[in-house]
Subunit: 598 residues, 2 copies
Amino acid sequence: MKRYEDSYLYRLRHSAAHLLAQAVTELFPGAKLSIGPPVENGFYYDIDFPSPLKEEDLPRIEAKMKELAKLDQRILRQEVSLEEARKLILDETIPGMGEAVAEYKLQLLDAIPSGEAISFYDQQRTDREGTLHRFMDLCRGPHVDSTKEIKAFKLMHLAGAYWRGNVKNKQLTRIYGTAFETKEELEQYLVNLEEAKKRDHRILGKELGLFMFSARVGTGLPLWLPKGATLRHVMTDFLQKEQVKRGYEPVVTPLIGNTQLFIKSGHLANYREKMYPLMAVDDDEEYALKPMNCPFHIEIYASQMRSYRDLPVRLAEFGTVHRFEQRGEVAGILRARGFTQDDAHLFVRPDQLVSEFIAVVDLMQAVLKKLGLTNFRARVGTKDPESDKYVGHDDNWQAAQSAIESACQKLDLAYEVSPGDAAFYGPKLDLIIKDALGRDWQMGTVQVDYNLPERFELEYTGEDGKPHRPIMIHRAPFGSLERMIGLLTEQYAGAFPLWMAPVQVQILPIADRHNEAAEALRVRLMDEVYDSRPVRVSVDDRRETLGKKIREAQLQKVPFMLIMGDNDIENGTVGVRSREKGDLGAMTMEQFLAQLVG
Amino acid sequence: MKRYEDSYLYRLRHSAAHLLAQAVTELFPGAKLSIGPPVENGFYYDIDFPSPLKEEDLPRIEAKMKELAKLDQRILRQEVSLEEARKLILDETIPGMGEAVAEYKLQLLDAIPSGEAISFYDQQRTDREGTLHRFMDLCRGPHVDSTKEIKAFKLMHLAGAYWRGNVKNKQLTRIYGTAFETKEELEQYLVNLEEAKKRDHRILGKELGLFMFSARVGTGLPLWLPKGATLRHVMTDFLQKEQVKRGYEPVVTPLIGNTQLFIKSGHLANYREKMYPLMAVDDDEEYALKPMNCPFHIEIYASQMRSYRDLPVRLAEFGTVHRFEQRGEVAGILRARGFTQDDAHLFVRPDQLVSEFIAVVDLMQAVLKKLGLTNFRARVGTKDPESDKYVGHDDNWQAAQSAIESACQKLDLAYEVSPGDAAFYGPKLDLIIKDALGRDWQMGTVQVDYNLPERFELEYTGEDGKPHRPIMIHRAPFGSLERMIGLLTEQYAGAFPLWMAPVQVQILPIADRHNEAAEALRVRLMDEVYDSRPVRVSVDDRRETLGKKIREAQLQKVPFMLIMGDNDIENGTVGVRSREKGDLGAMTMEQFLAQLVG
């Protein structure tokens, strides 16, 4: 698969950014342009306006862009020398150029390493009178061929952005926009965006009582409320069972470790900036919150002699790790400072690498399928052939890369190869999920590691009676539990599938006199098993009207409601309402249980 | 129930310590006595010997003690003035006294606060010739009446002990002994001690693959191996289900918190010495590993408006906490630095306190019963009537104490009241379990708390529409998961009951050609449910003889073995062996499943 950076869409959005700059130049004389790249869902341009811009100005700019786009300006690349470039940037006769607005472009020009090509993109058209109109911008490109191709775009919103991302510099105005190849795609994107707002996991997380944050507890540290904690439990329980079936062994390791461990693993040397401050007890005793589980699993592997027959050893843990993300990078449960990885480390012989890799990816596919995430692809990070920063023998790397690719092929998994995206210690595979709204989420990951077994001098005794070094595979199908729950909340807009729902059945006694029977039913239902787990059931015994209870259960997206009144208690039935199908009428418990399972 | 300190046994052991001192004085002239108290399972005496004592000397001392005991020496209390005491201690004519051996006794005398009674215990007898023999020791007492009562005792072992526990002081020789009222009790104790060695959870924990420690990971930080991790999971899963049935709601809260939280809760002021060093990010952002879960649960309670109808709110968490125990106090998984509490906090109205307390103790009893721990009693810690350190109104305390006592009575739970054992914030109940070897283990606890709701200004809206303050109940039926697993390992000598066993069924294929069928059976069995959880099953597919596989499964104390050979595969049967009953013959899977459940 093609990378976004190499796609037509990427070029189109880049050209849309230039079109935006051209429109601004026409509408706001004196506006100084800086940079305008394509980004994940569109593009932006950072501009120093002579007077503050308002959101209300965007439609006017957009209209001007439309007008300019239709003019079918050719977009031409022009390579020049440093000398010529400086002259062009200061040329008052070319729109976008001239000394008055050149401040940032000159700095950009100075930052281009000598020897590198300097290029401008020139939007040209000749009008009916034969006059040449142009707009030029210093830019590496590439771009589309004509502004006519920019048909489906929209300016989204404004933001502030410091020049070169440095708070000491001036704050510029960033105009965000998006562009697509067709109007239909743009429409869909805008509709999805509206829908995404409604599905925002931060809003739903609060409404559904999944998690909360507290300033007193600290930044990036979610507190999981009863329903969220239950959801976590359901998900870990499911994955645990799936893993045990596939020969994984669960372990539980400490949340902190002596710094000796992280010196040995290299984390203290290479990962220190993401670690919380160390806890020094005295000169020779110091602890750190673990940022990763690997060194602990290695200690378990190394705690006993291993023979070639014992391998693969697959140690799995729902391991809570802490990473000190910058305050600005923390984002709800999608990027928390304390989070739980569905981690495992496989210690394998070289001859097991391919089959174990395939088995890992197969597990990940099975997991995603069960979660209802069926639209995903893989990105295979391989060596940058130019670089020599990698550890491990070339033939090992070759074996690992072909193991990864053959796993994808064998499992019919779409993948793109991304050279240079490997870790320094081995190649990897990332899973990218497309959600119900067409957004990409980078989730689970598998990495092959030759480095840690070396650092910790891990061994197994081979069939030849001699010591050999195992290879490690790191993997996490969810990625993190927090992030996956964030994704699933948005994917399902909070209406989790039955097996996942924190409350599967809510019993609604009509009046206080039905509460006792409702409670008895709750306890009885808890002894039933659905999908290998006890049924999760609650009672709404508040003194509210039935109508209100139903509405609230509906808002809470509970899959089944059981209504209990006088008749029901007399007849031994319940009134069943399904989240999807509405009122299903009175049923006996046996009938309902059949409904639940079916 | 009587406290140990008030018992006859306690006095008897104290007198046995004096008897030991008398024997040493006779056998080792120049030996300087220091202190000799009764302790949990016996007594000791710390003595400064003129030349090193060896374990081989103990039988000789024990023989001398027996001889002296039989002499029926009366043990008399004698109260004296400071002046007289000094004179007595220096009196060369009395055995045990005299300047040459007075060093420690004089220091002990000086340490007695002025105004406090100074007493000696004098062991006297008059021989046939009418001569008075005596042995005196400075001692607060009390003692038994005659050395004749000390019939069943034994010297156990030697240890070093610094005078006054200070490493800067001289190291004395500590002689440990034990004593009982009857020879039978002593015999049973010694048998149990041998048995206890075999059951030592540290040894069994290693043999059964439950947990390990690593110097590189750090002191007091257990790593749970696959079987131990599974055992943890089974236990938490069981308790979670039991709790949800009883209206608890699970939560998951961070492992660390901003120090602001612990300042508010008072932990930083009152519990700092048990906390790991703080992690300061910058001047206004600092974190601490949580030593307790309470403040986090309070944040959840406080995150929304609560009405009197919402109470009680019962928040439960298997919360991992960290406490910096001194290195010498750390003891395997019984006292770790990182451990998991089966914690919950109940926020209740005053009128709910009694019923909620009863429900908590009922849950704890149900839990212990399920764990097979049926021999337990309660210790109720109440206010010290002399002290004014307690927070909260007297009538609240009265209500709480009578709630605790009436819970014990209603639930037919034996209890002793221990005045002065309450926390400063409320009375409490501790559960003390007697294990299979007759040893006491202090485990679960319930505490009533008026303090934290006050500090955090917790509220609920009463029926009167006005704000009221809830009461908190802290409780942990296991106490800690680690400690409970330690106890259970020793209780069952590793042969955990079926529902608890990490591996319930082990499949033993006879030869390699049976491995595939064994693996298929494993996966099939995992879809069966026993005690609301998937059956836990493993395959021993090593190339070992069946005999060896059976022996090892027996050592691993697996409840059921399923042997698979040619005939079995052909006939669709398995050869079943039970841990307790041995060979049960060939069965179909249906027959075996009936056996498993039955």
